[in-house]
């Protein structure tokens, strides 16, 4: 079963490419300006937190130093997470017309959103590396070999988002109010993810709870190359398990609800 879906999706890779290309074209239609829009949000949010915590509260120690780099390493992948969950959960609803008229595997629409948003993240990486280079030249950071773990984090996040999208997209077709719930939960998740603070800032029990947020472990992969602190194993292991669990659950729910979704769409 599982292999047959993968095979069918692979057979449709051409269509997938067309769709992703179209997404990016729409996104970057005005060439450079389009690009600025996609990175403006995380960049501005990072600046806000930087100003609030570093300049107004004047207390370091919420995150690692340099704080702005710390913020960006969390904010950029969060942008991917946020965008892919918001749009991925709407994937079936948004493409209702295409779903009614083509026999493409329905998982494709979720996969396409996760990929498009993922590519936007990849395109935002030069900004991160730019900041890294600046701080490196100024001698404020010492990057290490763990920079190569960045793609590992991306791979886990990709699978995670796919699982979440498969889980939520059919539910969203059938339950009208789900949209609002997702928006609220996402905002809560932002603060439940160590983006503007480090994990060890949270007191004991809370820290353990945060381990179960799969993004916690994923951020370890993104950050460890820039910051010389040891990687925390428990959240990483939990992250991988939760990710695989969500993919499994997502596929199960998607398969179960697919006939009903097709009748309703």
């Amino acid at each position: 079963m599982a292999t047959s879906v993968v095979k069918r999706l692979y057979q449709q890779r051409k269509v997938l490419r067309i769709m992703v290309q179209r997404d990016l074209k729409v996104r970057y239609a005005q060439s450079f300006l389009g690009y600025i829009w996609t990175i403006l949000d995380p960049l501005l949010m990072s600046m806000i937190y930087f100003v609030v915590f570093s300049l107004i509260f004047q207390r370091g120690g919420y995150g690692l130093q340099p704080y702005i780099l710390f913020l960006l390493t969390g904010m950029l992948p969060w942008q991917w997470f946020n965008g892919a969950v918001t749009e991925g959960s709407r994937a079936l609803q948004a493409e209702a017309k295409l779903i009614r008229s083509t026999r493409l595997p329905r998982e494709l629409w979720v996969l396409r959103v996760v990929m498009s948003k993922g590519l936007e993240y990849v395109f935002s990486l030069p900004i991160l590396l730019g900041f890294g280079v600046v701080f490196f030249i100024r001698g404020e950071i010492e990057p290490n070999w763990r920079l190569v773990l960045l793609p590992v984090g991306m791979a886990i996040q990709f699978v995670l988002l796919l699982g979440v999208g498969l889980l939520l997209s059919p539910i969203l077709v059938l339950v009208n109010d789900m949209n609002r719930i997702i928006r609220i939960v996402l905002r809560m998740f932002f603060y439940a993810t160590p983006i503007i603070y480090t994990l060890d800032r949270a007191p004991g029990v809370l820290q353990t709870i945060l381990w179960f947020n799969p993004m916690t472990g994923i951020l370890e992969f993104y950050r460890s190359g820039f910051f010389p602190v040891p990687m925390q194993l428990p959240p990483i292991l939990i992250s991988v398990s939760v990710t695989l669990g969500l993919l499994f659950l997502g596929r199960l729910v998607f398969k179960r609800l697919e006939p009903t979704v097709l009748k309703e769409i």
Partner: protein, 249 residues
């Protein structure tokens, strides 16, 4: 047919269950864990106990009153609805002429839409290049003049014409037609007829839903008669049409 004994479409006891009210208060928990709904009275079977085999080159006409399940059956074969019971096996590619304009996007130009829709149905960019003129010619001069106009400025007739033109240019061996011939002006209708006859002589398999006896007699050799979701007639087109008109006397 002796050379290829496997039917291109086989329906094996398929059934599909709908809710009477379209939007319903759905308990997600229920549907995941039980699969069956707890209020069976509120549902009805759109199709039930349908079995048939269609062989390559068959031209099948679907007849039946409104709500009989014709379009539902077509959508099940097209793979855009999944049956709750039984199984439908489609062994060749399908070109569905259902919701013709479904794949088109209003903001893109007609030109971009042709590439996009044909791409969604599996044609490569080069293949579309090759057929581009053929597609546009068939859709008519109005469409040609508006090629670089956003698709949403097209009239509904132009939209359908372009949709028909793209989908019938696909190489798929099975063609499903859902009453699309009813739209379009007289001249375009004639073109559609010619195109369908060309496709049929090319040994494609045709599935046609229509209320027009003339169309059915012209294209179809075999008829299927659906009544309240059940298959009550399957035989030569003329016999099935006779049965249908006797029923509705």
């Amino acid at each position: 047919m002796a050379a290829n004994p496997k039917p291109v479409i086989s329906a094996d006891d398929i059934g599909i269950e709908f809710f009477r009210s379209r939007k319903r208060n759905l308990s997600i928990r229920e549907i995941i864990f039980k699969r069956r709904m707890s209020h069976p009275r509120e549902t009805f079977w759109g199709l039930r106990n349908i079995s048939f085999d269609i062989h390559a080159g068959d031209a099948v006409g679907l007849v039946g009153a409104n709500g009989g399940g014709k379009s539902t059956l077509l959508r099940v074969i097209a793979g855009v609805l999944l049956p709750d019971e039984g199984k439908v096996t489609v062994r060749k590619g399908v070109a569905p002429l259902i919701e013709l304009t479904g794949g088109f996007l209003g903001d893109l130009t007609a030109r971009e839409n042709i590439y996009l829709t044909a791409g969604l149905h599996g044609l490569t960019h080069d293949q579309v290049d090759e057929r581009f003129d053929e597609i546009v010619d068939f859709a008519g001069p109005q469409v040609r003049d508006g090629l670089d106009m956003p698709f949403r400025h097209f009239s509904s007739g132009m939209k359908v014409r372009l949709g028909f033109s793209v989908v019938t240019t696909l190489d798929e061996p099975i063609i499903l037609v859902d009453e699309v011939l009813a739209v379009g002006d007289k001249a375009f209708k004639e073109k559609c007829y010619a195109r369908m006859e060309a496709l049929l002589s090319d040994n494609r398999t045709l599935f046609l839903v229509s209320h027009s006896q003339g169309d059915l007699k012209r294209f179809c050799t075999r008829g299927l008669y659906l009544k309240s979701g059940e298959l009550v007639g399957d035989g030569p087109m003329n016999d099935v049409l006779k049965q249908y008109s006797q029923d509705n006397r």
